[in-house]
Structure formats: structure tokens, C-alpha cells
């Protein structure tokens, strides 16, 4: 894999949008990896939270928008809680989700959800799930 780095990519509209929506400053992250180290689901992610931030720092959009990371993040805030630089990977992943959902692309198809889930699951799981996965 080769990433092309250029001034245009570093300051792309996409990168600025992520910063604006998430309220985070990407350059604050010094890539210590603490967030990835503590994230309960990073084992399942294509790129761990710190790698997602790194790709954003490099201005690389394709790799991270195709990665599953944003859909796997459970929003537990362990990353933010221990980040020595007060960066919230959770906010950044939420921003990536928003960018997808705001385009009208759903991650979960509501009609595919199994009936028993809808019947037995706590309302909060459904409401929250909808917010995270459905536009």
C-alpha cells in the first residue's frame, strides 16, 4: 500500500470537515497509541483508533472511509478517558459515521433486523443503534 501525501490532501475539505464535525484537532494527537491499546474492540477494527487518526493526519480518505472501524466503535470513551492529549477518537469516529449517514447511506438495514431482537432488546439499544447506524 502506498499513500500519496500532498498539501492538498493534508488540508482537504474532507479533513477539515472531520475536524469541524468532531470538534477535535487532529494535530494534537502524537500517535502514542494509548487509545488503540485500551479500546475494547480494536481487535475487530480494520484500523485501530490511533491509526484512523493517523490516516486523517495524512489526509487519506479512501482507506478510512472503507474501514469498518467507525461501525465497530461502541462509544465507550475509554480512548478519550486515557488520551494524554485529550483527543477523543470516539468523537472522530462519530464524525466519520455522521459523514456517511448524512449522505443518506445506512449501515444497517432496518428491515433486516431480527424480530426477536426488536421485541426483547431494551429500547435504548434500538434507539441508540438507529442513531449510530441509520441516517
Amino acid at each position: 500500500m502506498k499513500i500519496k501525501i500532498s498539501k492538498e490532501n493534508l488540508q482537504s475539505e474532507f479533513v477539515r470537515k472531520v475536524e469541524r464535525i468532531s470538534g477535535e484537532t487532529l494535530s494534537n494527537c502524537y500517535q502514542c497509541g494509548n487509545c488503540t491499546g485500551g479500546c475494547p474492540v480494536s481487535y475487530e477494527m480494520d484500523y485501530g483508533p490511533s491509526q484512523i487518526i493517523r490516516l486523517l493526519q495524512l489526509g487519506e480518505e479512501g482507506l478510512l472511509m472503507n474501514a469498518n472501524s467507525m461501525w465497530v466503535c461502541v462509544g465507550c470513551l475509554q480512548c478519550y478517558s486515557r488520551c494524554p492529549k485529550c483527543v477523543s477518537a470516539a468523537n472522530i469516529l462519530e464524525a466519520l459515521r455522521q459523514l456517511t449517514l448524512r449522505k443518506g447511506t445506512d449501515h444497517e438495514n432496518v428491515s433486516d433486523l431480527p424480530f426477536p431482537f426488536l421485541k426483547n432488546a431494551p429500547q435504548q439499544a434500538i434507539v441508540c443503534g438507529f442513531r449510530k447506524f441509520v441516517s
Binding site: 474492540v41 461502541v74 462509544g75 475509554q78 431494551p122 434507539v127
Partner: protein, 288 residues
């Protein structure tokens, strides 16, 4: 003492046990959990992106209604607690967002409410000592794994109920009921949360880790404070019991159920029969 209480949607439906056991226990403690006259769903997640003001309108409406009934509101569900408390703080701290939301919902809310969790009511308003004195059935010898999950603790700056790395509020309560809390590594790790929708494998792994690490640390029982944690743990428990030969299971209960038990409520009232792993044989075994 009367205290305005926001149940939230889940406690009104699938987590009814959580709600009723808490109300009963409160009565014993001389407290009335007064359900808000008017309330709506809080949205079940605090929007992590600060530009999402829409996500704050639902919880703000809850706060507005609660404010009409007093200066405090209490919740049982950790998620509601997290959402309401953070929303309240956001409105208090951030003038721009406050104005925007107020304009939208046509209210004048200033964030002056105090959002507290029922655990805080027990700790700070009643006192664990007093709870201890009212215990009728001390749960001696029962080793409890107190599962905090995420929403009760993080982020510390907004929630601040206890130390986010080594919280004790749960343990202190259970100790006052006669239990022996045990330390287990996963007590502050996530259960899988909303991945219940669509990614059950992750949930089973995370919730499974919570339960096995509690079992490995010698716990007889896990207590929770959130219907979603409860659901994820129980759901995973079912899978694990089915699929894993040497997994024996562990009862998972709301803390209010344990509280009710210790305060002398009858076992039948507490809905123990719904659990995958029954606590009643354990009670018998320990002779309490």
C-alpha cells in the same frame, strides 16, 4: 423524602424489574421516587459530535420538564444518567448551544438542574450507613462482581460520580448490604453496548470477558446498573452456556434487586425467575 425520578423508556418496558425493585427499596428507605409527570425518551446516546445540536433537544426537553418539578432529577439507568447529565452540562457551559436549543424547543432552560444517579442518592442523600442499618437480610458471604460499564463513569469531566479507573461507589453499597465485593479487571470495560444491534459476536466477546473475568476473580454474582449491560450480559450468557462446555454461568442482577433483597423484599417480587442463571440456589447455599 420525595425525589423527582426519570425512568426512561427501557425501565418502563423490558427493564420493569429494575424500576419496581428500586421503587420498593426506596420506600423502605423512606424515599419516594416520584416519576416525572411528563417525560420523553432521552435519545439513548449523547451525541459525540458537538455540531449535532439536534441530538440534544430530546434530553433537554426531559430536563425542562424535570426542572418544573424541582432542582434535582434522579435516574436508574446509566445511559439516561449519562445523556441527561452531559446534556445538562453542555447547556450550562456552552452559551451558543444553549441559545440554539432553547430557540428550537421554545424554552428558556439554563442547565440549572442537578442530575444524579440513584446510587448517588443512596450514597450522598441517605448514606450507606443508614442503608446498612435498615438491612433485614444481610447477604453475608456473597461475593459480588460490581459491573460499572462505561456510561456511569465516563467521561470523568462531565460525570464525575467516582474515580473512572478505580470506582468504589458500587462496592461500598454492596458492602453495606453485607456482600463481599471482589475486584475484577473488566468492571470498567464495555459490554458491547449498541452493537447488540447488528454485531452480536462482538457483544458476546466483550460481555463474555466481563463475566469470565468476574468468575475467575471469585465472584458469585454480577450486579449492573444499566438495562443494556444487563441485556448484553444475559444474552451472551445464554450463548456461552450453550456453546462453551466449561462455562457454568453467573447470575446477573440489577443492583436494586440485590438492594431490595437485603432490605427484606420477597424473592418472588424481585423477578429473579427471569434470569438465565438463577440466584436462588446461591442464596440457599450461602444460607442467607
Amino acid at each position: 423524602m420525595k425525589i423527582p425520578y426519570y425512568p426512561g423508556c427501557t425501565l418502563n418496558t423490558v427493564a420493569k424489574d429494575f424500576d419496581t425493585s428500586a421503587r420498593e427499596a426506596a420506600t423502605v428507605l423512606g424515599l419516594e421516587l416520584k416519576e416525572l409527570d411528563q417525560w420523553n425518551c432521552c435519545g439513548a446516546s449523547f451525541p459525540l459530535t458537538p455540531d449535532n445540536v439536534m441530538g440534544l433537544t430530546a434530553p433537554t426537553k426531559v430536563l425542562v420538564n424535570a426542572r418544573k418539578e424541582g432542582d434535582t432529577v434522579t435516574t436508574l439507568c446509566s445511559v439516561c444518567y449519562n445523556v441527561l447529565k452531559r446534556t445538562n452540562k453542555a447547556i450550562n457551559d456552552d452559551r451558543d448551544r444553549r441559545n440554539l436549543i432553547n430557540e428550537f424547543i421554545e424554552e428558556e432552560y439554563d442547565g440549572s438542574l442537578q442530575v444524579i444517579h440513584f446510587l448517588e442518592v443512596l450514597r450522598d442523600r441517605i448514606g450507606f450507613d443508614k442503608v446498612k442499618n435498615l438491612v433485614k437480610r444481610p447477604l453475608k458471604g456473597i461475593k459480588t462482581g460490581t459491573y460499572y460499564g462505561c456510561m456511569l463513569l465516563r467521561p470523568f469531566e462531565d460525570i464525575g460520580i467516582d474515580d473512572p479507573e478505580a470506582p468504589v461507589i458500587f462496592e461500598d453499597l454492596l458492602r453495606s448490604l453485607g456482600c463481599e465485593p471482589v475486584e475484577f479487571p473488566n468492571k470498567i470495560e464495555c459490554c458491547g453496548a449498541h452493537l447488540a444491534m447488528g454485531n452480536e459476536d462482538v457483544v458476546v466477546r466483550l460481555s463474555g470477558n466481563v463475566m469470565t473475568s468476574a468468575i475467575d476473580s471469585g465472584a458469585d454474582l454480577i450486579v449492573t446498573s444499566c438495562p443494556l449491560c444487563q441485556y448484553n450480559l444475559e444474552k451472551s450468557q445464554k450463548r456461552l452456556v450453550q456453546d462453551t462446555a466449561d462455562y457454568s454461568g453467573i447470575p446477573v442482577l440489577y443492583f436494586t434487586q440485590i438492594l431490595g433483597l437485603a432490605l427484606g423484599q420477597s424473592e418472588d417480587m424481585l423477578g429473579f425467575e427471569k434470569n438465565i442463571c438463577d440466584i436462588r440456589p446461591l442464596l440457599k447455599e450461602k444460607g442467607v
